[in-house]
Symmetry: D2
Subunit: 456 residues, 4 copies
Amino acid sequence: MCGIFGIYPNKDAARLTYLGLYALQHRGEESAGIVTYDGKKARMHKGMGLVSDVFDEKSIQSLRGELAVGHVRYSTTGSSTIKNMQPFLVSHKKGNIAIAHNGNLTNTTRLKNMMEERGSIFQSTMDSEIIVHLLAKSDKKDKKQKLTEALSQLEGAYSVVLMLDDVLVGARDPHGFRPLCLGKLDGAYVLSSETCALDIIGAKYIRDIEPGEIVLIHKDSIESIKPFPKKKHAICIFEFIYFARPDSNIFGKNVYLTRKCLGKNMAKECPANCDCVVPIPDSGVYAAVGFSQASQLPFEMGIIRNHYVGRTFIQPSQFIRDFRVKIKLNPIKDVLKDKSVAVIEDSIVRGTTSRARIKAIRESGVKQIHMRVSCPPLRFPCFYGIDFPTKKELIASKHSIEWIRDFIGVDSLKYLSLEGMLNAMLLPKEEFCTACFSGDYPAQVSKKFSKNILEK
Amino acid sequence: MCGIFGIYPNKDAARLTYLGLYALQHRGEESAGIVTYDGKKARMHKGMGLVSDVFDEKSIQSLRGELAVGHVRYSTTGSSTIKNMQPFLVSHKKGNIAIAHNGNLTNTTRLKNMMEERGSIFQSTMDSEIIVHLLAKSDKKDKKQKLTEALSQLEGAYSVVLMLDDVLVGARDPHGFRPLCLGKLDGAYVLSSETCALDIIGAKYIRDIEPGEIVLIHKDSIESIKPFPKKKHAICIFEFIYFARPDSNIFGKNVYLTRKCLGKNMAKECPANCDCVVPIPDSGVYAAVGFSQASQLPFEMGIIRNHYVGRTFIQPSQFIRDFRVKIKLNPIKDVLKDKSVAVIEDSIVRGTTSRARIKAIRESGVKQIHMRVSCPPLRFPCFYGIDFPTKKELIASKHSIEWIRDFIGVDSLKYLSLEGMLNAMLLPKEEFCTACFSGDYPAQVSKKFSKNILEK
Amino acid sequence: MCGIFGIYPNKDAARLTYLGLYALQHRGEESAGIVTYDGKKARMHKGMGLVSDVFDEKSIQSLRGELAVGHVRYSTTGSSTIKNMQPFLVSHKKGNIAIAHNGNLTNTTRLKNMMEERGSIFQSTMDSEIIVHLLAKSDKKDKKQKLTEALSQLEGAYSVVLMLDDVLVGARDPHGFRPLCLGKLDGAYVLSSETCALDIIGAKYIRDIEPGEIVLIHKDSIESIKPFPKKKHAICIFEFIYFARPDSNIFGKNVYLTRKCLGKNMAKECPANCDCVVPIPDSGVYAAVGFSQASQLPFEMGIIRNHYVGRTFIQPSQFIRDFRVKIKLNPIKDVLKDKSVAVIEDSIVRGTTSRARIKAIRESGVKQIHMRVSCPPLRFPCFYGIDFPTKKELIASKHSIEWIRDFIGVDSLKYLSLEGMLNAMLLPKEEFCTACFSGDYPAQVSKKFSKNILEK
Amino acid sequence: MCGIFGIYPNKDAARLTYLGLYALQHRGEESAGIVTYDGKKARMHKGMGLVSDVFDEKSIQSLRGELAVGHVRYSTTGSSTIKNMQPFLVSHKKGNIAIAHNGNLTNTTRLKNMMEERGSIFQSTMDSEIIVHLLAKSDKKDKKQKLTEALSQLEGAYSVVLMLDDVLVGARDPHGFRPLCLGKLDGAYVLSSETCALDIIGAKYIRDIEPGEIVLIHKDSIESIKPFPKKKHAICIFEFIYFARPDSNIFGKNVYLTRKCLGKNMAKECPANCDCVVPIPDSGVYAAVGFSQASQLPFEMGIIRNHYVGRTFIQPSQFIRDFRVKIKLNPIKDVLKDKSVAVIEDSIVRGTTSRARIKAIRESGVKQIHMRVSCPPLRFPCFYGIDFPTKKELIASKHSIEWIRDFIGVDSLKYLSLEGMLNAMLLPKEEFCTACFSGDYPAQVSKKFSKNILEK
């Protein structure tokens, strides 16, 4: 997963982009980068690590120009990550192109083979680079035609912020998998994955970029085209469940209120007979608030999260059981002892983390644990950008809920139903992609591609 | 403020101390250090920054020995901070001495002058170094006598963990200002400022070190002496209000439950006619939970805290108002808009931060803001280790509550009363130092010292 | 200027290449890099700075494989130097290609335009990248044909070491501007700019790669082709004058002996009536030894060079005159005072450095200074890889020797004649490029290219 | 060994000291430091590594004040070297004291024991710290009396530059083991181990500080006292043989001319029947020049030294024999092949390095090697600051010259005689300490001390 941001025209473009990326940091902690354009020259600074590690005053000052494009990248495995940092910038006879991409393309192998056959050389292993090559290869002089020609060859998920010399471009694929919104700060337009990045710079939210829309932001005007055939909308519901920040609006709707509603629906669908409601912090807090209000059970922050957790950490002593959990979460004995508690989780992926957490909670002397999960069982991998494990690693793809309850070690385990989840949404249910729960993939995927992912 | 930790005897002493310090990180982010002793040689590693930055696998492995003493130090101003890192280690003809100190001595000038007159040389500007010099100067061979002779010359606040060659020592001043507890992990004894550090390594809480007590931990035995005349106990109440971790027990009592009780007492003493209760995260969360439960008003996490905030941050654009607040906290418009809310703060020091926060909350379109503060107005500086500003910078020392309400910009402002605060405590009210609220300083302080602090 | 190195097959390929580059460090201090291939995968490590700064044990160990290609790059101006580090590696559908290039191409603009027009994207501003694109674009399956097709399009100077998957390739342009020799270490073949890199790893010198020759080193065989039309040889004479290490053989001949011979010819052509011969260290030492022997005048190391000179150095005080010289060279008063000395320089470029040096020598109280320069006046820029300044910055392009003598401040100034220089060479005079002295450029250069360089 | 420097009063004191230390870098590569005093406050910056690594523009600018003291420290073994960096600064009730010390005290154990007994605490393991403690302990108000009282308790070797608040002090022990000279730059006085540091800043040499002399430099005056009983002078002859820079004057005499004279005496005492004279660079060059001139044999730089050798270097391949030598020195085959050569070394310590060098030279195909060493066999350790190995590691303490010749592998081996060495000196022979050759130690040394060193 990734976060993308752009702004034009503003004299402080790089600095505002820095702040925007900082607000989008939760969408990717692996690397961060900014490209600017000052009318003549494109400048780039990027590096591995958090936004606050990658940039300093000097690098921000060096990024001159009123147009900026920024990117934060999610931590994935693989050694060659340095060359996969974004934005990806190319300075070419025909001009400068920079891309910040969120999403996964599904026809990359075919496109890349075709272009390498003709002698193109790819620097990275990112599908994002293909978009740049398609733009560079296009003979169209008009930027709208060039964008249409290049993007129409893509399949899969993409929300992109592009710099084409002095034009800032925002675009979403026709299914609209990933979010992208438009804001305004004084005379400048802003593009961002989530509204929390508008808030931090004091920009006003205008609207979301629509599925299949391309927006071109010029120095003193803005254009919108929708050159592609319409497709079924397929908004990622997991952005609401887990990924986005609670204080953000995405796809036009607030995440906190949605999550609270998930909690309310859980209280109705799968109530728990217990003394109090305790969230797994931070992600379980918002559904827990809803659950508590709807069930009239007291809300307690009975597990404390340590926010100093860094990226690197020395190996723990062998004597310390469940160390990875303890380093992050500490259940409060005096709160939990002899209580029957409803523990609220946002989702269960492999089940191993939940199991370790429950073990740590048990040590506090709790009487009963009733786990409630604010989405249905995750059974299918995602082809569109969420970094789930393969199908066989998803615990719910192979096991019954009863088996999982046993494995995790709780007294009762209930998932919110697909219906209950969709009802909590503030948008019509037809708008969503729920493939990870249902297996109904909205966009056609080549057999080879899906096989790779399903079996990897 | 500082966090201190010690363990003996355990083969993984340095690694466990690293984890203990990591759990005590909130007590000091400026520097961290560990000293170990392997029966022959003392080893030290310390550095500026967070525990996870200062140590790596290599440095932990180099810290051989079954006895370890650790320290985290609070960020204060001043350029010469490197030489003020702790533990402070001295290798001397008479043996190795290391100290980790939490608290402030009040008779340092006199002691230091006296010793420098005789030719002693001080490396640092820390009062902690004086304790080491007193120990080194003592001619007593018996360690209990040596400790008694040295510590009896001190006035003010100290909880210390010491290494005297192969003896681990824990001690608290007779007033008992700062916390220090004793735990056990397999055959080893553990000393720690708070119990959260026992939890992370799986140690069992035994009891608190008592005011005026010195505990000597030998390889296979433990001794306790109480050589000093009894003094009035003066436990720091601000540890419960703000400083300690909510999942810790200090002075034998749980912090979360105490804070919840503060919130409950507020709901009774100074209720608010409003739609919901919103904490300033994270420190206001626990009193807000209590306030919500006692007042039957819904609890909402209407303000989100960004946990990526690092130590260094590039200068913000001039266009961004209230930047320092926005970088940390984001009020959720869709939650707060047109609502009347009770905002729960733990305390107000200068008032400028609260003011900026309220301004940011106002931008969300909230209808009314009723601020409730979970302690009385802070009117006096602390001589015993809390790094408050001088008297004149404490907003409540010069201004009425009504004036402060105006300054901060809320519709109503109520503080919890001294009585209400003391009633929330799980210990008798006579046990506490409340000097920062009342001006009643429990330990005599030289005029020169207090003048320095009062007017600095 | 650059240094290049390759070895195959040897289990310690990366480590040996590291040592080879270390020996070639004088050919380029800006950046260093190594690419290896293990039969399946290509690995790369490169960085800015000296070989010993760029590599450590860990990076060398990570460079697995029996084939290695290395490069050191000369310090040039320009901000975007990071992306210009070599070797340049491309992993492509058709295979892995890495290049280490020494020399300057003269038809890059035309080739690059042509390829960008067709949609190719260049990462760097190096002409070396063009060679990789030509190889990637070629449809030839046979590596000899592919190399012939690609290299035949190049004009200008290139000695290259290439990795084409599991084949190590060495090639020199038909003029043979830059050196490249072949050595053998046990079963492995070695390619290197100079023999000093063979010496350090204990490899045996076999022969030089010939102008226009391409050598392909396979795991168990070696092939040579000469597919290009013959051209006039044009060996860079400046490699002997200044650039190569004195302990190296280049183009088959020893540098030290050649420089000593330059000194001998100077003693004959332009003797000096003086008390002793003093070199400007280190580069003037070898000609000075020859001058001393031929003239029977005593050799004195009257100027000492400080070898701690680093790359970065803080600004000197304004009080210190001729600081840049003093930081490197210190004339010995007790040796030079009241003496008449012949000072031996290898060459004069701008004249400003020599001027400052002479000023510093004057302060020692020397009686007379007779400067002798071991090559003719430098009057023309180099198009083939030596980083001379533009024509107008070359002092001898605009000024008479008498004017230069005055400017530098010596009692007499004599340059070795073109004839005297060529006579000192151990190779026939027809073999050399002497364009920088004579303006006779051996390879045709486009007007636009030469204009750029001549006027830059 | 160490280098020391001081200047007062000059507005650029820190910057000039930086340059002075840079010129003295050969006297110590382990650490570097500067202390300044601005009339009110003392400032310090020091670090491990070379002068150019430790300081940057920012640190130099932060070192405000017109008085500066600097130090470079020689690389020795031991892990706790960080706390042994100099200058050693103490800020004390009685004032600020900083010390930069070159030499070794011989009565440290007794002094340290005495002071620790009374409660003093030492930070470092340096004998230099003792001098500071003696100064701090002294009750004398007058600085001359204080210095006399403190320094009179010392035995052994010390040249020191001290800062006592606003007084710069230079002193040498009564034997005068280590050098220290006085210079002048405009209105400021300069103290330095060698004159090369005066040259780099353009200061004028005034005279040497005399053995047993203390010089106090005030803002506008200079005082000299000689409060100690006279002792036999014992100038370190090894400074001339090896340690000092050839362009320096030490003890008032030039090093280059002395070394050349050593070479001339060798040519007379132990001539070699050979084709040419080849130095081991750089230290053998100057004696080789003298040998060549006196013997009329041609001087050849037949072995080239690589000056890129850094401090850290990755482990060489096991295939590379004599790697440590090859990385530094490369014999030139075309120069040495079939020649009979006189190889000039400055000294032989353990013999292992010479052996490896000779092995490498043999590979060049040389016919005969006649090694000539410009001092007598080293048979005794140094108690006064030269970091020789223990007696039993000195090859000449246990073995005959014939045995050493065999071990090293040369055709003949001759050392210069004690007489021949002393005759080459430009000072009377009675002035020198020759203990490392003769075993006649000029200053009394406690049995315990010498036993430690002799057997360590």
